[in-house]
Point group: C2
């Protein structure tokens, strides 16, 4: 190491410390971001032998070869002087970790917002989606005539029109709800986030769940922020690995645990269920806040620290299902960071 480095290093440490204070108080993405460490890696997965990897001889030996399946891609950033407990961000249906990155209208995503708030932040792609490989073995098998069409996976692309309704931009495409914060002017960019969803072709629980559990263990404890389809996953992780789940934020979960299920994993656990507007106007969403409220009550009776909050009840009306991308996403994210700091002592 160059002898002048130590002096520079001390100066740097002081500077970084000053920078962090600026970040915390400023409006976000306009100040430089100081990263102590960043990278990406995989968690979980198995190696299997498969005879239907490719019909092109160059890419798979005759008689079959080995392929890695069920691994989960993880990208992370750690700020200088990070809080002890990291956040793990888990996206929902038909999407990837991109959900948490820059918004369709080009504003800072929650991945960076939480780093600026001092959290090490881990963004995953669910198994079989994005950079977490899917397995096309059944497609190859049927194309080769080694199986019939029923063997094909139940995979789908979500239509914009259906996602519009599911994500509650309005009651049905192309109508909008009266107060609705999604930046529809950037919808073209948003739709590009949608990827094929292999959820229905995967076993239950989804292989993402053991991978998340392994990640929580590797991190020596994590706070999960889930969304929609993935809402149940952190609860499933907690059921098997409670000590490494330091808190759960379920944003508009597709389901909460049954109120009659074992509540032991959630004793003492900070849990927040967060809802946007207009759930009551959606046949799909209407029952869900009620079902989750029953879980919250049961969990609290057992000693959890759970709450269910409608954003409109705390002064942030107009939230859609994609609230991390809504026009006031930074406002919601800052509120959520405050909630996490207050309730989980990260």
């Amino acid at each position: 190491m160059h002898p002048s480095f130590k002096i520079t290093g001390i100066f740097l440490a002081a500077a970084v410390s000053a920078c962090s204070a600026v970040h915390h108080q400023s409006d976000g993405a306009s100040d430089p971001l100081v990263i102590a460490k960043q990278g990406s890696f995989f968690v979980g997965g198995q190696e299997i032998k498969d005879k239907n990897l490719s019909l092109l001889p160059r890419y798979a030996p005759e008689g079959g070869g080995t392929v890695s399946v069920n691994q989960m891609y993880v990208r992370y950033q750690t700020p200088v002087a990070a809080k002890k407990t990291p956040l793990v961000l888990v996206h929902g249906c038909c999407l990837t970790g991109k959900s948490w990155e820059a918004t369709p209208d080009g504003r800072m995503g929650w991945d960076e917002l939480f780093v600026r708030r001092g959290f090490s932040t881990y963004v995953i792609d669910q198994v079989s989606r994005g950079r977490s490989a899917s397995t096309v073995s059944d497609v190859v098998k049927v194309k080769a005539g080694r199986a019939s069409a029923e063997a094909l996976p139940q995979v789908f692309n979500a239509a914009h029109e259906s996602a519009w309704q599911l994500f509650r931009f309005g009651p049905e495409y192309p109508k909008t709800f009266a107060k609705m914060n999604f930046p529809l002017e950037a919808q073209g960019e948003f739709w590009k986030q949608l990827v094929p969803d292999w959820y229905n072709a995967l076993p239950v629980p989804n292989p993402t769940v053991p991978a998340l559990s392994l990640l929580a263990t590797q991190l020596n404890g994590a706070i999960f922020i889930s969304h929609s389809q993935s809402g149940i996953y952190p609860f499933q992780v907690a059921a098997a690995n409670s000590k490494n789940v330091k808190g759960i934020v379920a944003i508009e979960p597709g389901a909460c645990p049954s109120p009659t299920s074992d509540m032991t994993p959630y004793v003492g656990m900070p849990i927040l269920i967060l809802w946007g507007d207009n759930t009551e106007k959606s046949p799909l969403w209407a029952p869900r806040p009620k079902q989750c409220a029953e879980f919250v009550a049961a969990a609290n009776r057992a000693g959890a620290k759970a709450e269910s909050i409608m954003l409109s009840d705390i002064g942030m009306p107009g939230a859609t299902h994609m609230l991390m991308l809504d026009k006031n996403s930074v406002e919601i994210g800052e509120w959520l960071a405050d909630w996490i700091v207050k309730n989980t002592a990260p």
Copy 2:
């Protein structure tokens, strides 16, 4: 903005300037990284109507819906005081932008190395791979009985054993070449990077090419670093959009342009073709350096500034096809950054 911000801001600017100097001179990933801006977005793509998006009614209207296809995912980081011309990193066969991120044995990837060297760095996922959505319409159509198995896409998972040979870890699995720098102790982590490859199911030129061209235009000029399968793409971009291609680094390209093709797009263009070891021992790779050498000669006769370099000839023996992940990847990357600075005046 808080009144004290400006004073803090001046201090921050001085600090960042000092930090940058430290980064440039240090060994890399151990110092904090100062990012002026980061984010992700999509380039290119079309919206199409499709009647085979899903067999599950929730996700697509009866009679069909709209889906976005052929868009390209891009993630970028811009350092403070970035050089004028950004780098665009384009991965190869069966892989995603993960190729350029942290290595399988946990070291800094080239995405960060180039940012630390002052380049705005853009990492893409090829169309139909990773976070760039593929279209499973033909799978849905065949599963629904609306088409026969021949309509299925020619998609494949590469077997570890085949990739071993293609990536020249050795002449055949599990043999290794005598001098070989890939961190095989981390091969389990590396194999998890492999994803299904839709290359053979896509039109020619690959939709990634117009998307890269659009990106180069949006960036007002870019230097491309391609790898393997994507080696020809930046040349195809240059053929249509030469003024926005400020340089091409083709790492072990699958093909170079024909030496009898039009060389006009490459006049004055800095071009580097870079090779690892043992190409001559691989039936697949043996002809390629020769074919590219013929292109380099033809391009230079027309006024390009092209060269083809074997890493073993410049003191870095043992490079594999995945040289950005080899044990000496930082050494190669630093040399490459020097080459780019010297030859492209970024």
